[in-house]
Amino acid sequence: MSQGRKDPLNLIITGVGGQGNILISKLIGEAMLEEGYWVTIGETYGASQRGGSVASHLRISRKTQHGPLTPEGQADIILGLEPVESLRMLGVYGNPTSDVITNIRPIHPMAVAIGEAEYPSLDRIKQGIRELSHEAWYLDASEIAIGLGAPLLTNMVMAGALIGSGLMPVGEEKFERQLKANFEKERLSLNLKAFGLGVSTIRKGKRASHN
Amino acid sequence: MESKACQALVDEVIKRDLCTFCGACVGLCPYFIAHDGRIVLRDHCDLAQGRCGTFCPRISLDLEEMNKAMFGTPYSWREVGTSKAIFMARSTNGKIKGRAQDAGTVTTLFWFAKDEGFIDSAVMTLFEDKSLPKGVIVSTEEEILACAGSSYVATPTVEAFNRGAQEDDRKKIAFVGTPCQVLALAKMKGSTQEGRNPIGKLQLVIGLFCTWALSHPGFTQFLEREVSNPIIKYDIPPHPANVLQVYTEKKRIDISLEHILPFVRPACQVCHDLTAEFADISVGSGRGEVLEWNTVIVRTPRGMEIVEGAKRKGLIEIREIPKENLARLERASFNKKRRALDRIIQKTGSVDDLLYLKLQAEIARQLLAE
């Protein structure tokens, strides 16, 4: 079910600093701008930018410009590049009608890397997402990106998953137009591939419906 | 907060001026470093128990238990430690005698042990002029000879053993050092600490008689002021000389001990062990009619094997120790124990708290009463 009728449509793209959430938030924002929407993109940071939690908040509306911060409980879609971050954003901004699309590959914080803490299992994360959302999709976007030879393209795969899910009032063609306008030849084909794989993967996959 | 092993070492030993700088805690891990005459904890290890605390001769020292484990007999406070034989010995090798501190016994025994394949390496202390001496692990006769001579400065030589034992091609290692270093090795032997105990490679321990050791950088800075030429050797002749003899290339300088004693390491004040009671063989200098000889105490079968072997090959000659010398040695040894106990109780204020010594208060009282 598309969230397209909601106004404003609040999309949060979250991950860890360095994963490139800002890039895809800009591309999505520009695609929506071209469709005649008012788009505001805000950023929130966790403890730090370098390796810390980051999120782009997109406020998309037909009526007016909205502020750059999502009020509590108003997130419609959470697109997560990292599973713990998806759960974190859902916890703060989610509500029972929120939909979640998330990558399942973890990025370990320092506490885990040095052996002082344990990263929650994917099952636990899924359980948490199940309790707090309407529907959820899970994919290993990192694996797909690594398969293309570029782990940094995880964000582009997730962008494909988002557009391919049908939750956004914009289709693949329009998004691909943005890619063509912003990338040069050699980077363009790889980004298009990553995007395309995200689209096809989410369409093949099972959506986890919760209520 | 639960006490960590490394922190216990810092609080109970280093901060209380009990650290002998033997080096047993260094070279096992990246957390302890020996630097500039001090043991430094550069980072915290989270383990509640570690080899550092287990090997340290100034933590939880139970002489009774250790003696039983090593020799099968009770610890003797009156004698010069457990012994099988006590006599005088000296090298028959002219080259060694010329270079050595006294009569060259240690160097000769090491040469013999190496020749016969008892050992492939030796951990010794090398001193160079006025720098802080350093523990080294050596393999050749030349290198062993180069380490002959006492420097009287406390050196973390056990670190060299800890590191050397990690080298794969060293399988049988000998050690010569001071009583505190020897104690650390004895603790290592008795340790139930699993895994990575370097003691497995230790074949022979020779301990040197020791009254005290000097601190770096205090003493070395003093020397730099007093002695301009390179130093070849030191000696402290027996009572009543009361001087430190410093031999440079050009001459010998006598410095009154009164100027030297301020540099004695505080930890030495509470040391009970004159003759390195937990070695295979303990060696000291001779005096009086046997001035040109080493005093030798053999304690273990391994020690006996080495000494008798060397004697059979004519590398050392032996003679009996004069009764008077032995009596004097036993008195000196007992006095050091009593002084140590005295000073410990002065520090703690109670005979029930003997710092690192695990000794019943009753026994301590008895010893002090004599």
Binding site: G29, Q65, P71, V84, G91, A113, P120 | -
Partner: protein, 639 residues
């Protein structure tokens, strides 16, 4: 993406607030732009630098904010419209100049944009810059939308010339760094011609002339106020006689609008959005005040507007009183940034309505889940960061030195030397260069029995910004200190901008670098250089320098920022673990490389109980090879 030089009026782009400001300046025909990097202001000048060549601008990353403002003023004195941009701390640095510039005035448009950082998200403080406008009697503008950021920036130049004085524009993170729809205007076709009129009265206020200029400033204030009455940057939405009047500015506009919408109170709550917040347009404000008994003021950081409105209301001779709500009443948080949720709750409280963002059940569930499954992500140095290795060397050297020495610092990525990622070495952080100044003081306490070694750290950029005068001071006073300059070849924290020590300028052209080592030699201070990656050498040099006490000493630790390097070159090494040699948790290691050294490229595997390299994160610097005591990490040079 954003193209602020686009010659495409009436088209729309998704611009960052800072980009919109830059575009506004372009539309005003700006010729010169100068700044010092500072979040959240950096993009203003960075964006202009990118189009400088194309549009014939002169753009500079100046050595500090005072010089940046002086550069802009110089341009203005010669008839060129100029813009200077900085964060709130930068305004403090420029204040001495600004507090004299306001008295002399400027002939050509000069706009000073200050981006405040409410909540101090990337700052050492959260300071409200607006007070400066009131203190210096300068006009203050606050954009509330992205469109306004552009339009206001453009108009600010006109206002500046109207009153022949500098104009202050205050933005905040939520406007500067967020993006929104901006319709572009026209780019002017003018040729900027610079010329200084030597015949006119000098731009100077000295001795007793200040009161005269001060009086003129006050007269200007009245004129500004009149201009503001008609400004399109002030607007009202809501009923004619609202139960509650919200007066807001800046980012408060979006939050207020959203809050009123969420509470469905459009029919009883009015919002007066002011873009011109000093001086206040009294007539306009009093007209709306007269329609309501209650006023809620919403703004970022201090109760600046709130207090000024209260002042204004006291002067209104109507006999009426108002109930004010805002920071003083506790409805709006007086510290930290304002958020839509704070505002919603404030309005709900005043209007006595119940608001619940989510059901109690959901709220409880989400709190439990967050607590149980979420891990904090601590600040840390990047993999391969030379600061990690330098602080490691400092930690070891100070412990080995044994005299309880410590480190005082200033601002940059290396400020994280405060935290465990930097082994908690730094003990003070305040302003740019303040570590060196503090060390200059600590280094003279010998007569009071002080014998702890003092290390001051600074970056290559802060060295030029503020450390040099403090260093000269300490050299002349023969203070006992060791200055460690962390030279990573750029102003890394804010986005790798160049500075006088680098060989390039803001516009990408080559520039002769000032050599820090040579400068120190010229100052007559003992200086040594070391490679930050060479931990052994750096530690030894530190030990030696610490021992060489009683005088000033400098150690320059050189190594390019790992992120800058990664953009240009392949990693130095391919780093790998030999799991057979890794002893992990056992006595002898206890996870030394991950638990103590803490490089994010090293991961502790709880299952295999061994360390492994995170290939996606490892930068290939190879330093961990020296850290491991078991030789379990090895490296191969990258061909």
């Amino acid at each position: 993406m954003s193209n602020i030089a686009a010659n495409a009026p009436n088209t729309s782009q998704l611009l960052m607030g800072n980009e919109a400001i830059a575009r506004g300046a372009l539309e005003a025909g700006v010729g010169v732009a100068a700044a010092y990097p500072g979040n959240p202001s950096s993009e203003i000048i960075a964006t202009l630098a990118q189009v400088a060549k194309q549009l014939n601008l002169y753009v500079e990353w100046a050595v500090n904010e005072k010089v940046a403002l002086e550069i802009a003023a110089g341009a203005s004195f010669a008839g060129i419209r100029a813009i200077a941009a900085m964060k709130q701390n930068g305004l403090n640095v420029a204040l001495d100049f600004l507090a004299n510039l306001n008295l002399t005035g400027v002939p050509s448009g000069l706009v000073l944009v200050v981006s405040d950082d409410p909540g101090g998200i990337s700052s050492t403080n959260e300071q409200d810059s607006r007070h400066v406008a009131k203190a210096l009697d300068l006009p203050l503008l606050e954009p509330a939308t992205f469109q306004e950021a552009k339009d206001m920036a453009k108009w600010a130049f006109e206002l500046s010339e109207e009153i022949a004085n500098a104009c202050l524009m205050r933005s905040v993170t939520r406007i500067s760094h967020a993006r929104g729809n901006v319709t572009l205007g026209e780019l002017p076709h003018l040729e900027n011609q610079a010329r200084f009129d030597i015949s006119r009265r000098p731009y100077a206020s000295i001795a007793a002339t200040a009161p005269k200029f001060h009086e003129r400033l006050h007269q200007n204030l009245s004129r500004m106020s009149e201009i503001y009455e008609r400004s399109p940057f002030n607007w009202y939405v809501g009923p004619k006689s609202p139960d509650l009047l919200i007066v807001t500015c800046g980012s408060g506009w979006f939050h207020s609008k959203e809050a009123v919408g969420i509470l469905s109170k459009e029919n009883s709550v009015g919002i007066l959005k002011l873009g011109t917040t000093w001086p206040l347009p009294k007539g306009l404000i009093s007209r709306y005040f007269l329609q309501t008994p209650k006023v809620l003021v919403i703004e970022e950081i201090d109760a600046f507007l709130e207090t000024n409105l209260k002042e204004l209301s006291a002067d209104l001779t109507t006999g009426r009183t108002w109930t004010f709500f805002g920071k003083a009443s506790g409805h709006v948080n007086p510290f930290g940034e304002i958020t839509p949720d704070f505002i919603i709750h404030a309005i709900a409280d005043i209007l006595k309505v119940n608001y619940v963002s989510r059901s109690v059940d959901y709220q409880k569930k989400s709190q439990t889940i967050i607590k149980e499954s979420i891990l904090p992500r601590d600040s840390q140095f990047c993999a391969g960061c030379p600061h990690r290795t330098t602080f490691w060397a400092m930690k070891d050297a100070l412990r080995m030195d044994g005299r309880q020495g410590f480190v005082v610092g200033d601002i940059g990525c290396y400020s994280m030397g405060l935290a465990s990622t930097g082994f908690s070495q730094i003990k003070t952080v305040h302003a740019m260069g303040s570590g060196m100044g503090i060390a200059s003081g600590l280094g003279k306490l010998n007569q009071f029995g002080f014998n702890q070694p003092v290390l001051a750290v600074c970056g290559d950029s802060t060295f030029f910004h503020a450390v040099i005068p403090a260093l000269i001071n300490a050299i002349h006073s023969q203070a006992d200190f060791l200055l460690v300059v962390l030279d990573n070849a750029g102003t890394a924290m804010t986005g790798f901008q160049p500075h006088p020590g680098t060989d390039m300028n803001a516009m990408g052209a080559p520039s002769p670098p000032v050599d820090i080592e040579k400068l120190c030699q010229a100052l007559g201070v003992k200086v040594m250089v070391t490679d930050a990656y060479d931990v052994k050498e750096t530690t030894q040099k530190l030990i030696d320098l610490l021992r060489d006490e009683g005088k000033p000493r400098v150690l320059i630790c050189r190594r390019e920022c790992a992120l800058i390097r990664a953009r240009k070159e392949n990693p130095l090494y391919r780093v790998r673990i030999n799991p057979d040699k890794c002893i992990g948790e056992d006595c002898g290691c206890e996870r030394f490389c991950t638990r103590v050294f803490k490089c994010p490229g090293l991961i502790w595997d709880r299952n295999t109980k061994k360390v492994k390299i995170d290939e996606a994160v490892c930068s290939g610097c190879g330093v961990c090879v020296e850290i491991c005591s078991q030789e379990a990490i090895f490296r191969e040079a990258n061909g």
